[in-house]
């Protein structure tokens, strides 16, 4: 029952943020394979292509130009094939209302993006751990809601 490689997608328009995430993922104990996208449009093109491998986990920056994290989320929720995809929305700062909004639109996890890389590593480790529990312990996905 050891975790297989978790296939992760991440969309963020900021190059530095993408690099931070990449480094954080590399340092985590669980095996991950991460693919990055520079904006929501590129991401949705990938997700809409049925022949491409399905990720288990998707990280979405809330604030992206062209297509925001929430717009992507709304589209994703309409695709049957993606119903077991765990969606993590993150932002450097959001109001309580925005956070609740992301949950209402179907996000599973909301992260406030930490300023320091060490904290980011810890947070991502926690996300992967929770996601792993949901994928292997038969927990109810309808109630899969966490704010970290």
């Amino acid at each position: 029952m050891l975790p297989l490689t978790t296939y992760i997608l991440l969309a963020d328009d900021d190059k530095d943020d993408r690099e931070d995430f990449m480094e954080a993922f590399k340092s985590i104990r669980m095996n991950t394979e991460v693919q990055m996208f520079r904006d929501g449009i590129e991401l949705m093109e990938y997700l809409n292509e049925a022949s491409l491998p399905l990720p288990q986990l998707l990280f979405l920056d809330l604030n992206m130009p062209k297509k925001s994290g929430l717009e992507c989320l709304t589209e994703i929720k309409k695709i049957e094939r993606l119903k077991n995809l765990t969606v993590v929305i993150y932002s450097t700062s959001s109001s309580e209302k925005d956070i609740e909004d992301t949950f209402l639109k179907g996000a599973n996890i909301y992260i406030k993006k930490p300023a320091h890389l060490t904290v980011l590593k810890k947070t991502l480790s926690h996300v992967l751990s929770i996601n792993w529990q949901y994928q292997t312990s038969g927990l109810n996905r309808d109630n899969f809601l966490f704010q970290l």
Binding site: M1, L2, P3, L4, T5, R29, M30, E100, F103, L104, G106, Y110, S129, W132, Q133, Q135, T136, S137, L139, N140, D142, N143, L145, F146, Q147, L148
Partner: protein
């Protein structure tokens, strides 16, 4: 004239295992030449069948004792969290130790090694999961839920709920109910 045969044993084994596994139709992953991982539970019968094919080739699949023990630990925990209406168990360490016949220290070590989390965290996760189900069900108050899950007070329950999920029980309830309403509206419209 005698020629020497050089074997790339790793490559050979990998090839054989992959060929054999692709016949089974099961989704699997070969972690290295010695570990075969599945993302679902494989029944005894399936394992038997797989082994019959492999044994002919001189290979044997050995179920990982550690994984099986972890599965038993999880089942024991899910059992006492969900089976009774009210959780009465306080000393979970002795319960697990007695039920599974290993020292708690050993159980903890194996659990953490295989699952990347601790038994304590897993117990809390299962309790909170049950709480979420009860909150979403709408039948019980937070006081009743806290009591059923053996928390000393509603405050203690709320604190652990918030620590685990990042949301207060009230926020969670509000969001779940609103999500349900949104879904119903979408179906109707």
């Amino acid at each position: 004239m005698v020629y020497y045969l050089k074997y790339d044993v790793q490559a050979i084994c990998k090839r054989i295992v992959n060929e054999q596994m692709s016949k089974s139709g099961l989704k699997y992953s070969l972690l290295n030449t010695h570990e075969l991982a599945f993302d679902q539970i494989i029944t005894e019968e399936s394992l038997e069948l797989l082994n019959r094919g492999f044994n002919k080739l001189g290979i044997e699949i050995v179920s990982s004792k550690k994984s099986m023990l972890v599965q038993k630990i999880k089942e024991a925990i899910i059992g006492f969290v969900n089976l009774e209406d009210k959780i009465v168990l306080s000393k979970t360490s002795s319960y697990l130790s007695d039920t599974l016949n290993y020292s708690y220290r050993y159980l903890s070590a194996i659990f953490s090694e295989v699952t990347y989390t601790t038994i304590e965290n897993y117990i809390i996760l299962q309790k909170i999961e049950r709480a979420k189900g009860m909150i979403a069900g709408g039948e019980f108050s937070f006081t009743e839920i806290a009591w059923k899950l053996n928390y000393s007070s509603v405050a203690h329950f709320s604190t652990q709920f918030k620590n685990t999920t990042g949301l207060t029980p009230s926020s969670f309830k509000r969001i779940i109910n609103q999500r349900r309403r949104n879904m119903l509206e979408n179906i109707i419209s």
